[in-house]
């Protein structure tokens, strides 16, 4: 016999749901969440999949990010804090989940993870842009991928990137500059052989 039946009417049935609601943890109602999800799920998935190079992992982490977002007592509210704050919070959760995932199985730090671990082949549904960016992105460190994606794909400012990644705002500028120079060199190197193959 469960303890819920030993305490008649205390927490059985709807009383438990009422207790859940009373805590006020949910940052938004279902309709608002569905609209927010519709606008933010694809960009979030794109961020995680391009940084992790693993679509299955990206799917799991994306779902977990939303569940944690909905359960977090201090999550920004759409009505009060606005959608951009909620979206930043969501990206931050996903970034932390990625970092935890990388730290857990093989390495102590995200920077110590060998590049081979992340060099997962991009299989289905590749566009031309992905084929062009994919090999260059795979040669970048995970932290560099995060910074580049947040800055150039999502268009976040240095302050917002610092908020998402947990890095100091002052160091973002330098890290981003180096990462951009590195990937630009890789993209140019990728383009040059293709250009040479073209008939003159």
């Amino acid at each position: 016999m469960s303890w819920e039946f030993a305490l008649p009417g205390a927490l059985a049935g709807g009383a438990l749901d009422a207790a859940v609601d009373r805590r006020g943890d949910a940052p938004m109602d279902s309709e608002a969440f569905a609209a927010f999800y519709e606008r933010s799920a694809r960009p979030l998935w794109a961020y995680v999949v391009r940084v992790s190079s693993d679509p299955a992992l990206a799917e799991d982490l994306m779902q977990e990010s939303y569940v944690r977002f909905l359960c977090a007592p201090k999550a920004p509210s759409l009505a009060v804090d606005g959608e951009s704050a909620a979206r930043l919070y969501l990206f931050r959760i996903a970034t932390n989940l990625l970092r935890d995932y990388w730290r857990r199985p093989r390495a102590a730090s995200i920077e110590e993870v060998p590049e081979e671990f992340f060099a997962v082949s991009d299989s289905a549904g590749q566009s031309d842009s992905q084929i062009m960016l994919g090999p260059a992105l795979r040669q970048m460190k995970p932290r560099e991928r995060q910074l580049l994606w947040l800055a150039h794909a999502e268009g976040y400012s240095h302050r917002e990137i610092a908020e998402v990644t947990g890095l100091a705002s002052a160091s973002i500028r330098l890290l981003l500059f180096r990462a951009r120079r590195k990937i630009a060199a890789l993209l140019r190197a990728q383009k040059e052989p293709a250009g040479k193959e073209l008939p003159s």
Binding site: E59, A153, G155, L187
Partner: protein, 170 residues
């Protein structure tokens, strides 16, 4: 690190998708000559194309599934929060019972030697009584009172605890 003074302006054009349409000829000429700005244009264009392609490939699950999972997780958190004092009460009751039982046994053992004598004679007595039971098919009433009843009581107690714990887990 060399930061180009045109970077902010160029970044604005790129962020709004206005490059190179809305850019001045001077800025376009500058980008041709500036390595940093050319890198910015190249990288931003590659990432924005990759973003558009990746977003088109995304197949997110229905939001209802995530709402349900979140509701379930919050519910479990509330249940865990509420059951923690009950679990503590269980532990306290068990510890109290064990202490009282142990105290009683020690007290009785110190008070007289009857227990020790009984315990010393128990194995021999049990074997004797078991042989008698096998040959005659009857149980000595004194033996049943001293051995069978405590054994049955212990089994009943352990069984009850096991059943309680099993149903409590469910």
């Amino acid at each position: 690190m060399n930061s180009c003074p045109h970077e902010t302006e160029l970044r604005d054009h790129l962020a709004h998708g206005q490059w190179p349409a809305a850019a001045t000829p001077e800025l376009c000429a500058h980008v041709e000559a500036c390595r940093s700005c050319a890198d910015l244009v190249l990288v931003a264009a590659a990432f924005q194309k990759a973003r558009a392609g990746t977003i088109a490939a995304a197949r997110p699950v229905a939001p209802g599934v995530l709402l349900w999972r979140a509701q379930l997780r919050r519910r479990n958190a509330v249940v865990e929060h509420v059951t923690r004092p009950l679990l503590n009460a269980h532990i306290f009751a068990l510890a109290f019972t064990l202490v009282v039982g142990l105290g009683f046994v020690v007290f009785e053992a110190l008070r007289n030697d009857a227990w020790r004598t009984w315990l010393e004679q128990l194995p021999q007595s049990a074997v004797t009584q078991w042989d008698a039971f096998r040959t005659t098919g009857t149980i000595d009433p004194t033996w049943s009172l001293t051995v069978v009843l405590p054994v049955l009581a212990t089994l009943f107690l352990i069984g009850a605890v096991a059943v309680y714990l099993a149903t409590d887990r469910q």
